[in-house]
């Protein structure tokens, strides 16, 4: 089955190189992935992310339900507009999906989950929601555009003008504002400032065209992937899945242990792992020599053992290859990566690699 977003025709008319992504026809790039990447780091780009699934949850006991469903904590009291990044775990502590959840106070919660996992996510949520009487709605009537980059918010505000929901201009990171038409949050997946805008499907084309005229560069999934990798952000299905826990995936910071009596799904195995310690962790790698790190490449870490690259690419901002790799917890310093039968030296670093346009790597200035 081939799915198309409301912006499919826009992608074609912009010369998008369309690829299948989780069943969706999406633009990989519109000419040059690297130029699109640089636009986001230096000025402003926009992405069609309508393939991601928006789920609205409501009901008397919805807060109680969210506190069971997610490893991060939406809190016992309403915090209207607050966004949280969380994993949704299975009973073994494995990651079913990662997502953003928005607190809409009296209107319940809005979650944005991955496209490729939508069916299993919905099945899982439904299964647990039933006993709480929580209403779960997949909002297939909505589209979503991510505007990202140091100039993105300013340009979006200029385009939206009075249409912007009250408070949009002064949103803090991980906050959302909304009105009848638009739901705008200061979130993203690039390591840059910006907005994600959710709106009715039938209005997506109009807004996309206005944002384009307003100076946002259409950017594809290719740039989205190199941007998120530079920002040290995990990709579900590559860097983590149901066979690993958040603690093994660089996501321990997203697990809310307090209050200790909040029994979220997967808590018990996570507590055990926390107390005995994890044997493998997600770490960053930087290749100092020429070449490109790719997922699946084997990593030798001397006495610590072996690891494997889960996401790798060329970093357009740093001009060298970077990767996320699942490595023995003790591995540090340097390691060797097998690239086409040859062992190549790499450095182990703590992600992110790039934040707000600047290199985070020590001892290797890349500022222009």
């Amino acid at each position: 089955m081939t799915l198309k977003t409301a912006l499919y025709e826009q992608h074609l008319s912009l010369g998008g190189r369309m690829v299948d992504f989780g069943g969706w026809q999406m633009p990989l790039h519109y000419g040059s992935q690297i130029e699109e990447h640089h636009s986001v780091r230096k000025s402003a780009g926009m992405f069609d992310v309508s393939h991601m699934m928006i789920v609205d949850l409501a009901g008397e006991r919805v807060r109680e339900f969210m506190r069971l469903l997610l490893a991060n904590d939406v809190g016992a009291e309403p915090r209207p507009g607050k966004a949280i990044y969380s994993c949704m775990l299975n009973e073994q502590g494995g990651v079913i999906d990662d997502l953003i959840v928005y607190d809409r106070a009296d209107d319940g919660f809005r979650m944005v989950v991955n496209a490729a996992t939508r069916d299993k996510d919905l099945a899982w949520i439904d299964r647990h929601a039933r006993s709480f009487g929580v209403d779960v709605q997949a909002r297939v009537d909505l589209a979503m555009i991510a505007a990202q980059g140091p100039e993105a918010r300013e340009r979006v505000m200029r385009v939206l003008g009075a249409e912007a929901p009250a408070g949009t201009e002064t949103l803090r990171p991980f906050q959302a504002a909304w009105n009848d038409r638009l739901f705008v949050s200061r979130t993203g997946y690039t390591g840059e400032d910006g907005f994600e805008i959710i709106l009715p499907e039938e209005e997506a084309t109009g807004l996309w065209q206005r944002l384009h005229r307003g100076g946002l560069t259409p950017s594809g999934l290719g740039a989205r992937d190199t941007l998120r990798l530079e920002a040290g952000m995990n990709l579900y299905g590559a860097d983590m899945d149901e066979n690993c826990t958040p603690l093994e995936s660089g996501l321990a910071w997203t697990v809310a242990w307090d209050p200790a009596d909040r029994e979220f799904i997967g808590r018990a195995p996570l507590e055990t792992q926390r107390s005995i310690g994890v044997t493998r962790k997600l770490k960053g790698l930087v290749l100092e020599a020429r070449g490109v790190l790719r997922s699946g490449q084997r990593v030798e870490c001397g006495a610590s053992g072996e690891g494997v690259i889960t996401s790798g690419s060329f970093s357009p901002t740093l001009g060298k290859a970077i990767a996320l790799a699942r490595m023995p917890s003790a591995a540090e310093g340097s390691c060797r990566v097998e690239i086409r039968g040859k062992m190549v030296d790499a450095r182990i670093v703590k992600p992110p690699f790039v934040r707000n346009g600047k290199s985070c790597l020590q001892g290797s200035p890349t500022d222009e």
Partner: protein, 130 residues
Amino acid sequence: MSNIPEELHYSRSHEWIRRNEDGTVTVGITDHAQDLLGDMVYVELPEPGQRLAAGDECMVVESVKAASDVYSPLSGEVVAVNDQLADTPELVNQDPYGEGWLFTLQPAEEGEPEELMGAESYRKLIESES
């Protein structure tokens, strides 16, 4: 549409060859191939002096998207490689038939191998693949 110069010969695996006046041949990848691969970020060239048989995987081009083998269209000895690509692999995207050439071979045999095709046949091949 892809640029397919009339004067070149082409392989089924999307390499092109140009016959030079000194008897050597220059090899590159086609405009269609570079377009499919996307932005080049790394090129691993063969060694000068290396002997290749037709069809050998002799080098690798890597785009942001993926690594791809390049096959030698002819048997022969590598006499020159495009060192510029170490620092500027994007030349393969920008000028695949010119500045983005990959290597030059001294062919082991005279004449054109049957497997190579002219511009018209290559155009039909990529139309049939799309």
